[in-house]
Amino acid sequence: MSQTRTTLNCHCDSPNWGGHSNYKSGQMNISSTGISKEALVSCRDVGLVFPGPVTALAAVSFRLRRGELVSIVGPSGCGKSTLLRLIAGLLNPTSGSLELTGEIPSASGKSGDRPDVGFVFQDATLLPWRSVQDNIRLPLELLHVPRPEHTARIQTALELVGLKEFANAFPAQLSGGMRMRVALVRALVTQPQLLLLDEPFGALDEITRQRLNEDLLELWQRQHWSAVFITHNVFEAVFLSQRVLVMSPRPGKIVAEFAIPFEYPRAPDIRGSADFARLAAEISLCLRKAAT
């Protein structure tokens, strides 16, 4: 079994690790549920109706393959965040089926049918009374990761985003960009299979946002998790992802899918290329059509 997750890895030798190592090979593993093990998330006609009734989502279908980075763009209020919460298991769909495949040990060592998920919110959502390192420690505590493992994991996490000297600082002392970096590595410290990002960089200034986009890509290339990235910024979506899904206004559904052909690692200056601009324009146009 090839060990692709080199940076934050302690469960590679687990016999349950399964399909992860051949996520690039294109080979189809059929799991007991009959779904390709390659698909980490499969949504089929997922709908969500809140009591009222308000139809938040109408028949959303898409698949996320293992190791893939997909962005979802859509006008505000279209249910993007709701979709992300469904995937995270924070909400349950009222129709359709949503499956997260693979029996993957979570950071706690317990295996379950739900892959370990990391979530990054719109705000950094750091506990104000905990220092940076204690905020990163929180998921480890909640998942009962043995204490002796914490220090090394937190150190690695802080080094990944260059915040080593801020280990003891409190969130109120950090800039918005730094707080978001902490939130990012907090979500990654449990070594999740799937990272869900809910417009994480929306409140940041443009330069900080671009930096964090580059940092995020670097982390993704090093650690090979899968990610669903929600944003309303088309340029961000194009820069980051392999595929961009476009959602319509409420009731939300996916109206278009764009493949982004740029090779990784992506240099920051591809943002200035003609292909990049054309793709971004196409997606923007599609978004605008969907919104009317």
Partner: protein, 268 residues
Amino acid sequence: MKQIGVKGIFFRAWDWLAPPAILFCMVILCWHAVTVAFKVPKYLVPSPLSVAQTMYERGGDLSHALRLTGTAALLGFLCSLIVGFVVALAFSQSALIRRSCYPYAIFLQTVPIVAIAPLIITWFGYGFHSVVIVSFMISLFPIITNTSTGLITVDARFLELFAIYHSSRWQVLWKLRVPNCVPFLIAGAKTSSGLSVIGAIVGEFFVGVSSDWRGLGHYISDASGNMNTTLLFAAVLNCTLLGLSVFVLVNVLGYVVLRRWNNPGRGT
């Protein structure tokens, strides 16, 4: 640079202390002037000088009374902190408990303590226990309401964050709700600290003159019965000092604890 820092602190303290101190002196001067100029009888308004004299002469009695009242008030306050916190914990864990008990917590707040103080004394005797219980009862409610608010009003995103990691109720309580309620608890404690002193004095009124328990309340009711207005003023002044010191104590403690929550200094 350090010297400037120290000087800075000194000037800041001066900025805070000077205005009330000057006002205090002016009021005392006016008070004295009025009592002298209009020859106000001692039993109506004693001059500040005679109050100071009484405070000196009866210093032993009054400082003993201050100690007694202070002990009872602090004990009542501590009990209200502990009981209030535990009740709030119960409220935060079950909407059913909250709904069924909250009206009675309000009852505790709205029933005039003066009305039930005699009952408490009938039950718990003429002395220490009754004084502490009255003080405890009067300072309990702000702790319960503030702490429950802090335990219940937790940012929904924090709850989602904990849910992502399949946290137990216990983890949510101790790692999220309890730390979240600390600033609320301290705000409640500030209100309660003053109330606990009031409660102790009200309790002492009812405990009565015959009791061994001669706190400040005893001197107030005794002095007022004998038209000894000077002693009354001296006792009231002691009460104020007691209330003030409890309040300052809670504020300083609150400031130290809350540094982590508000605007913390750079970590160690």
